[in-house]
Symmetry: C2
Subunit: 222 residues, 2 copies
């Protein structure tokens, strides 16, 4: 399996995986797939108070990952004020049970992005970005809701980070036992997690029929 | 709803939630519940290369959260070498669809811990910590597998961080629409995510019966 199937992004000193390096991938398609499966990321940054790890909604447009928040957010202010960031998305797919305690592991898909966020100042681009977020949450819903007012847009900041310096680390499959442990009589295998969707819950004040994206919700995998 | 129901941990300058402060909780029981629901956390720290956001397995014993890894891990070396850290666990529970674009939100449970990790040097405590991790993954399995050898223990580092400076931010329930938007005719409510378990997958080399914790796996919620 090649690590560089599509649009390779060569590892930097920060993204080169040193430990269990065979789990690393640097191709853009793999990064995109992991980001597109996620609704939120964790962002690491630091300021005078120390390091912070903040979860926030994220969505991808092309080769950038977008976030947004209130103008008052200390994280957003720090991020577009030149602070460096590391953004990570992780999906946990299963527990892997091996014959020896120390060979137990987990299956996961994780994407990390290093870099600096930039502010999306252009109002048309801000609108496009926020509408892309809505399209990700509920395709077609933008036309059904009351859109953002000028005042609402003025109160938020939209930021994006380029997917230039990024890396995927992922593991799948069963345990890798040491030859010497194969005689150990114990169940081995994978205990998978599922990432599912439960039945939609209409609000008590909701007087409208469920649109397609709500009716389809519980049947799609998340 | 009180923010201080059990063993209150007063907010610090880093943990006091400023934005949508009514979603914050500081009591220990709520922090514990969110950590115990998780198998991994994201850890923010910084070094000469900048900020990093690393996912890693975690487990709680009493009022500490534990992590472990290879002695060669740059994160572990930095963390027990005095680097400050922020550890975050987030569960995403649903999308919340409101009548206006900007009132859309998500339901989630997030716990953040600030502080410094300390190394668990005592070998008996290291053993106890690693066996607690196994108990979390698969209760009773420790007695069935080949336990860690002295050499294996010597190659790993176990760290823990006290749950002293921590905060929970969580949201549940349906949308909160503005009064002026209530006439907007559109479906509103919550699209829940489920955190489930799929059927156990026995390894091709597995010749043993499934123990209780494997047979019970798909029927429990994760």
């Amino acid at each position: 399996m090649s690590n560089h199937t599509i649009a390779p992004s060569p590892p930097s000193v920060r993204t080169r995986v040193r430990r269990v390096a065979e789990l690393a991938r640097y191709d853009r398609a793999t990064v995109h797939a992991i980001l597109d499966d996620a609704y939120l990321c964790h962002i690491a940054f630091h300021d005078a108070l120390g390091s912070h790890c903040i979860p926030t909604a994220c969505w991808r447009i092309g080769d950038h990952l977008y976030i947004h928040g209130s103008n008052g957010s200390r994280m957003l202010k720090r991020l577009f004020d030149g602070g460096d960031a590391c953004v990570t998305v992780t999906h946990l797919d299963g527990l892997v049970l091996a014959r020896s305690a120390f060979n137990h592991t987990m299956n996961y898909r994780s994407a990390m992005i290093y870099g600096q966020f930039e502010k999306v100042d252009d109002i048309a681009l801000q609108h496009a970005a926020m509408e892309a977020l809505m399209d990700k949450l509920a395709p077609g819903r933008q036309a059904q809701v009351r859109g953002g007012s000028d005042k609402e847009y003025a109160a938020i900041t939209v930021l994006r980070i380029a997917l230039d310096e990024c890396v995927v680390k992922q593991r799948r499959g069963g345990p890798q036992d040491d030859e010497a442990d194969l005689a150990q009589m114990v169940w081995t295998g994978e205990l998978p997690f599922t990432h599912g969707r439960g039945p939609a819950i209409a609000d008590v004040l909701c007087g409208s029929e469920a649109p397609d994206y709500v009716r389809a919700w519980p049947t799609e995998s998340a």
